[in-house]
Symmetry: C2
Subunit: 260 residues, 2 copies
DNA sequence: GCGTCTAATTGATCCAAGTCATGGTCCTTC
DNA sequence: GAAGGACCATGACTTGGATCAATTAGACGC
């Protein structure tokens, strides 16, 4: 069945929209020049002088807690965000009240790129755990991207990647293929961030995973159970161990890379 | 059922890869400064002087015929293309041999953006009818985007739009919702290009539409038939008349905008 | 420690859409 | 203009995964 009737209502009560709320005043300088994520993030490849110019425009948000919003649909678009720590999900709610998870965002990944065109946010971004972001005011970022070739190139690269990844996700694949690709993609992303690619903890609920992968939460449970029976993974609550990454990789192969 | 087993093999024989083939030498200057599509395309909003700088880097391709390739998976990424006339489809073929249509591209729309990150093409782009493109060598384009604020802004806007559109398409919707959104989206795009939003001709086959929308070709036929019975549309071969655009729009509402 | 709440699992049933099969229509091509 | 071949439409049947229902397991407050 194509559409999950379970693509259900928003889980959490709308709590504070941390960054755009009136009481929020990011003041802390961030420092791309000393950030361990710089090689995954926008400053990739910049030299020391250019990193310092980045530092001048980037500020960090306060710590946000699970369920808090970074931005909401309709908020004016002011800045691109880079996840500094923790993780976020982005999602929309359609006119039928169904929720659609667009992505999960880990440290070093950008949020808000889809708001450039309409100049307002078109999705909600919610912290999945204790998290924070670097705030890059778009006008300033765009201006700096005019001056620094490497920054401009990397911004375009990262947007290009988002386009390709979204297109892959849109493809027609079975539940098993999608889940395998999801796990393999997460594994790779954790590895890039210096964590174990074999064992990691999911910060998102089964419901969010299901919603992201266009299936019912029950299907996620069942496929996890089947994968466990087939000794591909070991699941316990939200911690996952990939026991047979090769087999999983084969199953995910058809989707190529995926960036959940 | 999630995956269309009918996500079938490539339809046409691989014919000449027109632009990247050895014999292809685009020489004709294109002229953004006099192009009627400039307000939809990359040069949107540029002044006369900047348009002339665009003219200097843009060349036009020869006319291509139905079934010819603009680029193929694995081709080195050299340029972004803007559709000048006619239409293209972009698609991948996965490791199981299933075809996945990523999009249909009309005049003024860009092709090749997903190749920036990997520096090679990750999909095939095939002409659906007699068509041509403007060729914008990426290195030069990126350099010029550093110098012209409006060009940089528009490039980022268009990529932002692609990200949002791909995410929408990835969502979980019924066959009827997806087809309604497809028709409404096409209608709007034809209108933007000065054609009737009520009556237009599909350049793509039912099979391509189905593949793009993640369903079987039979489902497209059946939904078309149902829409016709309900007096929403009138179909004859590949020409479509939207008889009740409002109703269609309501059905598509849940997907927001869509750019097939 | 005990009640409450929500997330997750598991089983039973159902249905939207996929698959298979047939026939029709419109091109080409020789 | 006959033969071959894409397309496309439509009916009959099947099925992957959704839905519904019941149960269990943590998490949190008091």
């Amino acid at each position: 069945m194509a559409r999950t009737k379970t693509a259900d209502k928003v889980a959490k009560d709308p709590t504070v929209a941390a960054v755009n709320s009136p009481g929020f005043h990011p003041k802390l300088q961030a420092a791309c020049s000393t950030c361990s994520l710089a090689q995954l993030c926008l400053p990739m490849g910049l030299d020391q002088a250019d990193l310092e110019r980045m530092d001048a425009l980037v500020t960090r948000s306060d710590l946000m807690h699970e369920g808090e919003y970074l931005f909401r649909v309709g908020d004016p678009f002011k800045a691109i965000y880079a996840v500094r720590a923790g993780s976020y999900k982005s999602y929309t709610v359609d006119s039928e009240g169904r929720e659609h998870v667009l992505g999960f965002h880990l440290a070093g990944e950008l949020l808000g790129l889809d708001a450039i065109y309409p100049e307002k946010h078109v999705c909600n971004a919610m912290a999945l755990d204790t998290a924070s972001v670097c705030v890059m005011p778009y006008d300033q970022l765009r201006a700096l991207a005019g001056q620094i070739d490497g920054l401009r190139a990397q911004l375009l690269r990262l947007m290009s990647k988002d386009i390709a990844d979204a297109a892959t996700l849109a493809g027609d694949f079975t539940a098993e293929e999608r889940i395998a690709a999801f796990l393999v993609g997460l594994s790779r992303r954790f590895q890039q961030r210096g964590f174990s690619p074999k064992e990691f903890t999911l910060t998102m609920s089964r419901r969010d995973i299901a919603n992201y992968l266009r299936m019912a939460p029950e299907t996620v449970s069942r496929v996890f159970a089947r994968f466990e029976k087939d000794k591909l993974i070991a699941v316990e609550h939200r911690s996952i161990r990939l026991s047979d990454a090769n087999k999983l990789h084969d199953m995910a192969q058809c989707m190529g890379e995926m960036r959940p």
